[in-house]
């Protein structure tokens, strides 16, 4: 327990010292909100592209953080740790691989929550938008989505041969994923054929679930999204524990 706490604290400091990951988790989504917010805010309510567009940005950008953190941070950190012999060094101690993985999960989860809180606070302060539903429900959806996505990161890190490969695959998957899922861009604005591809992008289910919950819809209306994410979560835990390699 002591080792988990120390390692989590250490990983949190390392996360914040890495400017790129801290920027994309905490600052970039906030900037996006402010930029889109200022565009939409100049239009009157009720007009397409008006202030009504601001509220859905918060669940969408939360989904974006989850996607980026799960796919990029987890994958690249773990793959780099393995390649550079950082895991090898840890292996010489009695520390369990579960502690190493748990510390990563806790840190990226807390950072995701922080990024989300920044979005919510900015939304409330500048645009007076807030969730139509229960914040607890929304948080629940966010926890499920995050954990399923972190599992994906561990799977990639565990199965790709090296850190360079992990970085490339994560980047190549990341950008189309952000656009196709509707996390960075309203899916409704895309052609229908493109929208069909979205069904194959895991982040789509996160966007759907979070936007629904944010708008006050019940969990029961999102069985498909929840189902997909639960299956991803189970696969993620099983495969990432199985594919964990010290070196």
């Amino acid at each position: 327990m002591k080792s988990l706490m120390k390692m989590t604290w250490m990983e949190a400091k390392l996360f914040l010292r890495e400017p790129v990951s801290a920027f994309f988790t905490l600052i970039f989504p906030l900037l996006m909100l402010l930029i889109f917010g200022s565009i939409y805010n100049s239009q009157p309510e009720g007009v397409p592209g008006g202030t009504g567009m601001i509220s859905p940005l918060i669940p969408s950008f939360t989904a974006m953080i989850i996607g980026v953190v799960g796919l990029m941070s987890v994958t690249i950190t773990m793959a780099t740790y393995r390649e550079n012999g950082i895991l090898r060094r840890l292996r010489t101690t009695p520390v369990s691989p579960l502690v190493v993985m748990a510390a990563q999960v806790i840190v990226v989860f807390v950072m995701t929550v922080l990024g989300m809180i920044l979005l919510m606070v900015a939304g409330k302060l500048f645009y007076h938008v807030r969730s139509e539903g229960s914040i607890l429900c929304f948080m629940g959806g966010m926890v499920l989505s995050s954990l399923s996505f972190f599992g994906l990161g561990f799977i990639l890190a565990g199965t790709l041969p090296n850190a360079r490969m992990a970085q490339i695959v994560a980047m190549v998957l990341n950008y189309p994923m952000l656009i196709l899922s509707g996390a960075a861009w309203p899916r409704e604005l895309m052609p229908e054929t493109v929208q069909k591809i979205s069904a194959f992008v895991p982040l789509t289910y996160v966007v759907n679930l979070l936007r629904g919950l944010w708008n006050g819809e019940a969990w029961g209306e999102h069985l498909l999204n929840v189902g997909v994410l639960v299956v991803m979560l189970i696969l993620g835990v099983v495969i990432s524990v199985k594919t964990f390699r010290w070196e």
């Binding site: 706490m5 550079n84 950082i86 090898r88």
Partner: protein, 307 residues
Amino acid sequence: MEAVIAVEGLRKVYGATVAVDGVSFEVGKGEIFGMVGPNGAGKTTTIECIEGLRKADGGKISVLGLDPQHDEKKLRKCTGLQLQQSNLPDRMRVWEALDMYSSFYESAVDWRELMSQLGLEEKRNSPFGKLSGGQKQRLFIALALLPDPQIVFLDELTTGLDPQARHAIWDLVRDVQARGKTVFLTTHFMEEAERLCDRVAILDHGKIVALDSPAGLIRGLEAEERIVFSLDGKLPSGFAESLSGEVHVEVEGQQVVVYGRNGRKNPLVGEVVNQLTQQGLAFRDLRTEQPNLEDVFLSLTGRAMRE
């Protein structure tokens, strides 16, 4: 001598390559045991099998009475390891690494004390990525000492260090021994093995070709020691005959070289100096050239250590 490591018939094969081919030896409590040999001789494979990081294909290994494959967890608690090609995150600071690693052990020694003993006090807040090679190795030694281990494994500890840093590390390893710990190290520097180790196993192509104390290995060598000096005058004929045992003398200008069989009863240098003084010959720049472990390796394998 109580053995803390016992290896019998260790074998490890990678595909068609036999990396370790039937290696057997014991390491006694409290000694600095060195495994030397050229790159690719099988040193790291051997040390990593003993540490339980790799699974041996054959043979028996016992470390503190434990089987490294089955009791890996237990072994981690009472041994300290420094591995080749292991790392810390670049942005982790020295004190943070020591603090975090000590949380992995139930009864770790005080890391602050270790930090100052290993001369890392000034570097306390430096990120790992900014440390010099010697400082990194000192930090790794500190991490290896955190569990207050009975055995410390050091794999290629001084590779890539400048001579000054290397000497400083040697002092540290002697300190570790003085604390009553057993040290198992590998190196491809013959000088390091000779200066540091109580006993040395010479490994070549996965086999131990010799195992003894450095002095014992050199004594067993059919090599010559050389006494070299300069003389202002001429060397009297019959000087060689005035020395005991088999010796021969070569003169080239002012320089005189006396060759004697290694491992003779009376030290050759004493006799040479005695005779020179007795015969009233003014000599200068006298030095002796002893055979060393490099020569031992050369005579055992027919190859020089460094290609």
